[in-house]
Amino acid sequence: MTPVIPAKMRILVGANSFADAVTALQIARAVAAEFAASLGGLLVDDDDIRAVCALPHQRVISASGALLLSPSQAQIRTLMNAEARAFRQLLQQIADPAALDWSFDQQMGDLVGTTMAAAVGWDTLIFGYRSSHPFVGKVVALEPSRPDDGRLGALAETLARQLQTELVVFDVGAGARPHPARRRFVDPQDAIAALNQMNAQAVLIDLSRGPIRSPGSLRKLIAAARCPVIVLGASAATPRVVHDTHFPVANKQPPRAT
């Protein structure tokens, strides 16, 4: 029996830049009409990047391979404001036609840490990663280590169908459901190494059921995937904090951007 995805998912997209957010939002768009109840956007202004930009002799390598001067702090600030504006507009363009609630915020910090901290109250996180080429990649689902309700698999299949691509299941440790495109790995590191060699279009994991559980492993996974990573069960894996620090307040009416 094919498991059913909960009809009303709350999806939060976290990204360091608008370029990263675009690919994640495309995935959100693909599932929003069917499954999403609300959509959130979080632009994380990484302080490491600001620090690196301040180093002498630093260059930025553009997507086309050009070497550019690194921006000044003021330029970074202006740039991030523009990125936030673009992120919010795209979010609104996706949410409004589907009649979804939406919210947006911008925070300083590390992408994974900040997004995980904000994950309470959200069903799904999508970590954005810019696309460096137009070639269609595969959808990769990391089979949960512990039995789940089939939500990850169903979402992965829906996404592969929507993106018109293949679904590959990475099975770490004990095997589970049979799948025509299944690859087995002994441990998560092997799976991440294999992912590093693949052309993936999206990766799905369930943080609450493994095999990836920690933020550190998640960072490695995102770096290896080089594509948006969809994380289920993030709120369960996140230590509870005082509720008034949650962002966004997903169970309230999100503020409308003006």
Binding site: N16, S17, F18, A19, D20, D46, D48, I49, A51, V52, C53, A54, L55, P56, H57, Q58, R59, V60, I61, S62, A63, S64, G65, A66, L67, L68, S70, P71, L79, M80, E83, Y129, R130, S132, H133, P134, F135, V136, G137, K138, T165, E166, N196, Q197, M198, N199, A223, A224, R226
Partner: protein, 820 residues
């Protein structure tokens, strides 16, 4: 003006009534009603023109185009239509022509010749081809075979792209360097304690460490840049592979379908070449068949029956039929009459349509012109209309000279086009052009356009009239019967036909001819038919025809009536009885539209001694035309050569058309002017009951003039309005006797002796009738007989000369009559 009593002389009797109206007698026609007659083809008396038309229709030389000249209403159009249709039926059916897309240079659509009737077949074939492929190609691309190959290409490309990046990511990790994403791109930073190097830590490093880090970062930056630069190349390679796959997939089904269509045109290299180009284009543009077009709005019909060929994306594979013999539905060469020969309708046009506010076009918007439709046959045009249309005449000549039909819009011709246009392939032109126009137009074209004579070598000159013989009369009767039958008119009695023929004679202005203005005669017959039907008769009678003619005169007679009224009420002074010296009634014709009528004019002459000669007052005030002036000058010549030959001419005479406020043209009143002059010189009065027409030469001979019937009738109407006295009539040139076709009421008056038509051949004969005094002939001794008119004229001129001599003589100051 002094009135004198003329020496009386009896007026001649004038022409008998039989000479005044040479009517056709019904019994000459040989039938009772036109129902008995066999139908004639309507071409009568035009053998010369018919021969020219047939020659033009048959001859193969391409420059033997034809100009059909002649007046309106003589049957030029119907003759051309009939004769060309006969010739066209013997000629082969011309080929079809289509325009198709030129895939290499789309702005130059390709013209293609096809056997007769095959254009529509090819169009249908192409439509079916497109519809079939629009169903089959998407199915092919949805097949697992295609999807597998496509995925393989995507995977290969993805791996090629991801491989170096993955390796680089591994490398930077090994070298303790972090790869960071920023809004602008990637950055690299050395890692210290698991975190990217911070500036404050960097500052604490010794210079050697910093240099090492800087060098490493710089090296890795260049390495990453090199990897990313490979991206566009990989993308290009990927695109090529996808296109190759598409072409490979599409090629199978497209080639199969196109081949089956091409088999029908084996041996026609042009069509098979085009189909091969179609095949290649379809293969290289297979994505056209994969786009979502208008398929969603298919109503209750299944997708399979959707007419894909109607969608704009497939117009590139359309077949635009310029001319198709299957559409014309004939098996003969075409005969096209283009009534509106504008440039566009003649040579075809390229239409545009608006898309997003811009005018665009393509080869399917090329529209054929009359030259396309007539290609391989005949094109008949009205010359005047053709010449009135801007650039149409130039375009026609260009097509005939070049032997091809090139479509150039007026905007392009004038360099006014500001949007995209096309340069379609010219289509070879094999058409015989027939222009129909007037003779004057033909002469102007010959004179003013040097190319006209080269391109239009033949002239079909339609006769204005038909010689009147018994045979031609009966033939003409059959033509009239055919017209009546064709127009659903009542059958005509022989009397009615005779009445129409009488009208034809009247219109010909010659009792020995019938006019060939069948249009005018047809109008009379149609009106007569109306009167016959109004009287509930099923046969048209002569009274109906007579009524139609009379009613036509009546309708057009308002101005004539007003002029006659002015004469009768003596607003315009015209005497119709008594005598007067130096005064004569001349007659002129006034044309109002198609209606002509005669009106009398009083011509007076005054004389005295002097050197001014003959003063034509009309010419002095520039109211006289050149021909009128010529006539007056001839009078001077006549006087100078006839009278007082041994003394200088010492005459001052003035001539004028009294109460004439418009122009005077023509020399038909020159004899009247001479009579007035002779009367003034001789002092002998002229009978005012007579009017005079005819020109005169220097020898005193009376010459024929035109409009004799209208002129006589004009004077007759005035005399009748004032009561006919029996001493009234008109002097006409004897040469005009054959032109007399007077109204029956004029003839009746003449028969009753109440009006006379008096033919004269010389001035002497005329002046004797007008004055009742003998003119007299110069005797051997050189003098005119005593008491004759000429003697009195000569005596007066000698007296003038004598007075002149005395006036100019020595010792006579200021002349004889001068003041002391």
């Amino acid at each position: 003006m002094t009135r004198t009593s003329p020496k009386t002389a009896d007026l001649p009797d004038g022409l008998p009534a039989a000479k005044l109206r040479a009517s056709v007698r019904a019994e000459q026609l040989g039938f009772k009603t036109t129902k008995e007659l066999s139908v004639s083809d309507g071409l009568i008396g035009q053998n010369r023109a018919i021969d020219a038309i047939r020659l033009s229709a048959n001859i193969t030389d391409r420059d033997f185009n034809l100009f059909v000249a002649g007046p309106e209403g003589v049957g030029r159009h119907s003759a051309v239509r009939q004769l060309l249709a006969e010739e066209a039926a013997r000629r082969p059916t011309p080929d079809d022509w289509v325009y198709v897309n030129n895939f290499e240079t789309p702005h130059k659509p390709r013209a293609m010749r096809l056997p007769p009737g095959q254009a529509a077949v090819l169009r249908q074939g192409m439509q079916t081809l497109v519809d079939d492929l629009a169903n089959e190609v998407p199915a092919l691309f949805e097949s697992e075979e295609y999807q597998t190959q496509r995925r393989a290409i995507e995977q290969e490309a993805g791996e090629k792209q991801e491989g170096p990046i993955a390796a680089f990511a591994e490398q930077v990790k090994q070298e303790s360097v972090a790869l960071l994403k920023t809004p602008m791109g990637f950055m690299l930073s050395a890692v210290v304690d698991g975190k990217p190097l911070k500036p404050d830590v960097y500052e604490t490093l010794d210079p050697r460490q910093r240099d090492e880090i800087d060098a490493k970062i710089e090296r890795l930056q260049h390495q990453l840049a090199d990897i990313l630069k490979q991206g566009p190349l990989l993308e290009k390679e990927h695109r090529q592979k996808v296109e190759e796959l598409h072409a490979q997939m599409a090629e199978r089904v497209v080639s199969l379908r196109v081949r089956s269509l091409a088999e029908k045109y084996e041996g026609n290299a042009e069509v098979t070449g085009y189909l091969d180009a179609v095949r290649q284009d379809m293969i290289s543009n297979a994505e056209l068949f994969l786009q979502d077009g208008e398929t969603s709005d298919n109503g209750p019909f299944p997708q399979a029956v959707h007419k894909f060929h109607r969608e704009p994306r497939f117009h590139r594979y359309g077949v635009n039929i310029m001319v198709s013999q299957s559409e014309a539905g004939t098996v003969a060469a075409p005969v096209i009459f283009e009534d509106n020969p504008t440039l566009n309708l003649l040579t075809g046009r390229v239409e545009h349509m608006s898309q997003m506010g811009t005018l665009v076009t393509n080869f399917t918007l090329i529209k054929p012109g009359a030259l396309h439709r007539a290609n391989g046959g005949y094109l008949v045009l009205d010359a005047r209309r053709l010449l009135a249309e801007p650039y149409a005449w130039d375009a026609l000549k260009r097509c005939l000279q070049g032997g091809s039909i090139a479509i150039v819009s007026l905007a392009d011709w004038l360099s006014l086009g500001s949007t995209i246009s096309l340069e379609p392939d010219p289509i070879p032109c094999d058409v015989r052009v027939v222009l129909i126009g007037g003779r004057r137009l033909h002469m102007l074209l010959v004179m003013l356009d040097p190319e006209f004579g080269t391109l239009f070598k033949l002239l079909a000159d339609f006769e204005d009239d038909l010689p009147r013989t018994t045979r031609s009369m009966r033939h003409f009767a059959r033509v009239l019967a055919a017209f009546a039958a064709r127009e659903n008119l009542c059958p005509m009695t022989a009397d009615a036909v005779a009445a129409v023929l009488d009208h034809a004679i009247r219109l010909a202005d010659d009792t020995r001819k019938f006019t060939l203005q069948l249009g005018v005669l047809g109008d009379v017959m149609r009106e007569a038919d109306h009167y016959a039907r109004a009287a509930r008769r099923d046969v048209m009678q002569d009274g109906d025809v007579t009524k139609a003619v009379a009613q036509a005169d009546h309708r057009a007679g308002r101005i004539k009536d007003r002029m006659q009224e002015a004469v009768v009420r003596k607003t315009v002074l015209i005497d119709t009885r008594g005598t007067a010296v130096g005064q004569v009634n001349g007659l002129s014709v006034i044309g109002i539209g198609t209606h002509r009528f005669g009106r009398p004019s009083r011509i007076t002459a005054r004389t005295r001694m002097g050197n001014a000669g003959l003063v034509d007052i009309e010419r002095e005030v520039e109211l006289g035309g050149p021909l009128h002036s010529k006539g007056v000058l001839i009078l001077s010549g006549y006087l100078a050569a006839t009278y007082a030959l041994d003394v200088p001419m010492s005459l001052h005479a003035s001539l004028v058309f009294e109460q004439s406020y418009g122009g005077v043209e023509g020399d038909s009143a020159s004899s009247a002017e001479l009579y007035a002059l002779l009367s003034a010189l001789s002092g002998i009065g002229i009978r005012q009951g007579l009017a005079v027409i005819g020109s005169v030469n220097q020898c005193g001979q009376i010459q024929a003039i035109g409009g004799v019937n209208e002129k006589i009738e004009g004077f007759f109407d005035i005399c009748r309005a004032r009561r006919l006295t029996g001493a009234q009539g008109v002097l006409i040139p004897a040469a005009n006797t054959d032109n007399l076709m007077l109204r029956p009421d004029v003839v009746a008056a003449a028969e009753a002796g109440r009006f006379r038509i008096l033919p004269v051949t010389t001035i002497d004969q005329g002046i004797e009738i007008l004055t009742g005094v003998r003119a007299g002939k110069r005797r051997r001794g050189g003098a005119y007989p005593e008491g004759t008119l000429n003697a009195r004229v000569e005596a007066q001129l000698r007296a003038f000369a004598q007075t002149q001599r005395l006036f100019a003589g020595p010792g006579v100051p200021n002349g004889a009559g001068g003041a002391e």
